[in-house]
């Protein structure tokens, strides 16, 4: 039977399956031979671009270890104060709030000491600010910007009797409320096809149009309970996820019940089982790879509210990295305007170096897969509309708890009543989400009985803003 080694196997699985891409050390020069260790996940480092660096720098060996998203960040958190750190570590935006906390940020190299301040002006200001630690140090260099648009199927829109031109489609939904109404109309006209793939994605889309999420930008206190943007985002996603009830169960939704990135999702995309997807720039490449047969059937319209953002990462160098200088050479090259342009052309990741948005190579870029939509212009205007959002310590856990609550509404599995709300209502899902977040996030630091000096230390911490576990 499965032995006790299971847990360890689980954690190691991601590591073991990760690609350890060993660089070819051609023409090894003994003096400047450097091996850079890189921790990553997903598609942060695109192989063709990294290979370009390898060719130009035969004396540098780049070893990229790909892990599961959560595993990589947890491993990094506990490795940082030790010597077992990589030279370069990728950090996802959902985790940036945690790594920006002063105590942790102090464990990263301040990139300004390596010359980051000289190139700061090249990058989108809000993305640059996301990489600044709360101790004032610049700890991250921003990779791509997601931006946000709606990719839709022109053939299915036609079937529903909707306009298919992107300007007219954009005019259909000036607000999110209108977006839901359009979704309902679509589903009445084309039964059996979902208007969008997963209504849960609306939550992040609406939330990221605000300026604050779960934590107050000034006091850094948790405000997920009181911030009206959070409630509004939840309500919109809940309304889209459950348009009407029958027999005390959710019986209609403007989305399918399919989770993004599941095998069903790819199948549904190929079969045309949904008509629209909320699409950050990186999503376009996903659609091309998952459903190559749908070429030419898509087009791209703007999201309600105009701008939006999803995803994006930071490249960091831990303070105890063995080759900080070489690591900086690599990441500053990798994210320089020329390479970001190349990455955009090859892999569709949208550049953060915004000064080239006005260059013809981006401004006039059209994608034939999406009916020659002006992808470059759409995503640059979406990215320019964004303001920085304060990222807090436990964003990832809070995100996933709200995601669970929204999924319960759509699936009809909100079996618990909560507060004054009966089971199966969106009120109960919201109420349970708040309880779950409080259960997980709000326990330590300020509440439990401790010796007096600890109380002093904690209040001290509070004012010095490293207290991140607040009720």
């Amino acid at each position: 039977m499965k032995l006790g080694i299971r847990i360890r196997t689980g954690l190691a699985v991601a590591v073991a399956t990760g690609l350890a891409v060993a660089g070819a050390g051609v023409g090894a020069q003994a003096a400047s031979n450097v091996t850079l260790t890189v921790w990553s996940y997903g598609n942060v480092f695109e192989p063709k671009i990294v290979d370009m660096y390898r060719k130009a720098h035969p004396d540098v060996t780049i070893k990229i270890t790909k892990m599961n998203l959560d595993d990589e960040h947890n491993k990094l958190l506990y490795a940082l104060p030790s010597r077992a750190v990589p030279d370069v570590a990728a950090v996802e935006m959902a985790y940036m709030g945690q790594f920006r906390q002063p105590m942790i940020a102090a464990q990263f190299t301040n990139l300004n000491t390596l010359g980051a301040n000289k190139i700061a002006g090249d990058y989108l200001p809000f993305r640059w600010a996301q990489g600044t630690g709360l101790n004032g140090a610049q700890i991250g260099l921003p990779t791509d910007v997601g931006g946000l648009a709606v990719a839709y199927r022109t053939d299915l829109f036609k079937k529903a009797g909707f306009p298919t031109k992107r300007e007219e489609v954009t005019a259909l939904w000036p607000t999110w409320e209108k977006f839901i109404t359009v979704g309902k109309q679509f589903q009445n006209k084309v039964p059996g096809v979902g208007f969008m793939d997963s209504t849960g994605t609306l939550f992040a889309a609406v939330l990221n149009q605000g300026t604050e999420k779960y934590y107050d930008a000034k006091s850094r206190a948790a405000i997920y309970r009181t911030n009206p943007t959070v409630k509004r985002a939840f309500d919109i996603a809940a309304k889209a996820g459950c348009t009407f009830m029958r027999n005390n169960k959710c019986a209609g939704s403007i989305g399918t019940k399919i989770n993004q990135f599941s095998p069903d999702w790819g199948a549904a995309m190929n079969k045309g089982a949904f008509a629209a997807v909320l699409a950050p720039a990186w999503m376009l490449d996903y659609i091309k790879q998952q459903a190559p047969g749908t070429k030419g059937k898509w087009d791209i319209a703007a999201v309600p509210g105009g701008g939006g953002n999803m995803g994006g990462s930071m490249l960091t160098i831990p303070k105890k990295a063995k080759n900080a200088k070489a690591a900086w050479d690599f990441i500053s090259w990798y994210l320089a305007p020329a390479q970001q342009l190349k990455t955009f052309q090859l892999y569709g990741l949208f550049p953060t170096t915004y000064k080239m948005y006005s260059q013809p190579s981006i401004k006039n870029y059209k994608d034939p897969f999406f009916n020659n939509a002006p992808v470059g212009a759409i995503y640059s205007s979406s990215a320019m509309k964004l303001k920085p959002i304060y990222a807090g310590a436990k964003d990832r856990l809070i995100d996933s708890t709200f995601g669970q609550a929204l999924a319960r509404i759509t699936q009809g599995t909100q079996t618990k009543s909560c507060g004054s709300f009966p089971a199966q209502t969106s009120g109960a899902a919201w109420c349970q989400a708040l309880q779950d977040i409080q259960h997980n996030v709000g326990v330590l630091c300020c509440t439990l009985l401790r010796p007096l000096r600890a109380v002093w230390r904690n209040s001290h911490r509070l004012h010095h803003s490293s207290c991140i576990f607040q009720r």
């Binding site: 499965k2 689980g10 990832r396 599995t413 330590l444």
Partner: protein, 288 residues
């Protein structure tokens, strides 16, 4: 022995602290013992654990998946082993090797394949059900269906391995015992009941203990099946170790995570003791 003891002692000690990564960072950067004395929490973690409805939910889920996977698995494995032990079976080495193949397949690959099979809209099981006029089963959103799907993944992976262990035990039973049973005129069932099972007492005990440890430590399958550490939107397949991972590493509550670990250990010990008594009473009386 020492290497095994250090993590156990450390984890148990950690369970008495209100340790999070701040504690860890402060301790490792300042090397001050006051960090530890400030974080000492006594029995707080255990008190909280006792009242934590998610831990009890995780316990129920783990038991449910464990039962649906272990019981049929051991019975089928025993049947398969008896078939393989048949001297008239041709190409027996081929069959034995074939049984082992699922076990050496990568867990992640298995998870992807099973996610496809159990897909709600385009998975083969629901498509087949659709043809016989049944509405789709919620393989992920439903509690029992998701337990069943995860148990299937486990069964597929471990059935062959268990069969081979049973096979080894069956082949080790002296032929004379069967001959004398035949001379005494024992029926086929009586032979199994009074010769095979008592002779395999040690193997069965071993399998049950290993099964309990593995089954109650269930982690990779629910993690990969649901695609996250939450165990589903309604925590319908949140297992105990998944909850440990969520609290200790997603939520950075190391002390509480350690307390969950101690809780899991206690549960495993209790169940193992019960198993031991059951196997002794099944096989013990005849083999005396």
């Amino acid at each position: 022995m020492l290497f095994g003891a250090i993590p156990i002692v450390f984890t148990t000690a950690l369970a008495f602290f209100n340790a999070d990564f701040q504690t860890y960072y402060e301790f490792i950067t300042n090397h001050q013992l006051s960090v530890l004395t400030n974080a000492f929490a006594g029995l707080d973690n255990f008190r909280e654990l006792f009242k934590d409805s998610y831990f009890w939910l995780a316990l129920r889920n783990t038991f449910s998946i464990w039962l649906i996977s272990t019981v049929p698995q051991l019975i089928i494995a025993f049947g398969l082993a008896s078939l393989l032990a048949n001297a008239r079976l041709r190409a027996s080495t081929f069959w034995r090797t074939a049984l082992m193949i699922p076990n050496i397949t990568s867990v992640l690959a298995v998870a992807i394949v099973f996610q496809q099979l159990f897909g709600r809209d385009f998975g083969i099981f629901n498509v087949l059900l659709h043809y016989v006029g049944h509405k789709p089963i919620e393989w992920v959103a439903g509690t029992i269906p998701s337990h069943f799907a995860i148990a299937t993944m486990i069964n597929w992976r471990w059935l062959g391995y268990n069969s081979l262990i049973f096979l080894a035990a069956i082949l080790a039973i002296p032929k004379e015992l069967y001959e004398s049973a035949a001379l005494d005129g024992a029926s086929r069932w009586q032979t199994v009941r009074y010769v095979t099972i008592p002779q395999m007492k040690n193997t069965i005990t071993f399998m049950l203990v290993m099964g309990t440890i593995g089954g109650l430590g269930l982690f990779v399958e629910p993690l990969t099946y649901g695609g996250g550490f939450d165990g589903g939107a309604n925590s319908q397949f949140l297992t105990m170790t998944l909850y440990l991972y969520k609290q200790a590493f997603m939520n950075q509550r190391l002390g509480y995570g350690a307390a969950i670990g101690v809780g899991i250990t206690l549960v495993v010990m209790i169940i193992s003791a019960i198993n031991f008594m059951i196997t002794r009473s099944i096989a013990g009386e005849e083999s005396k």
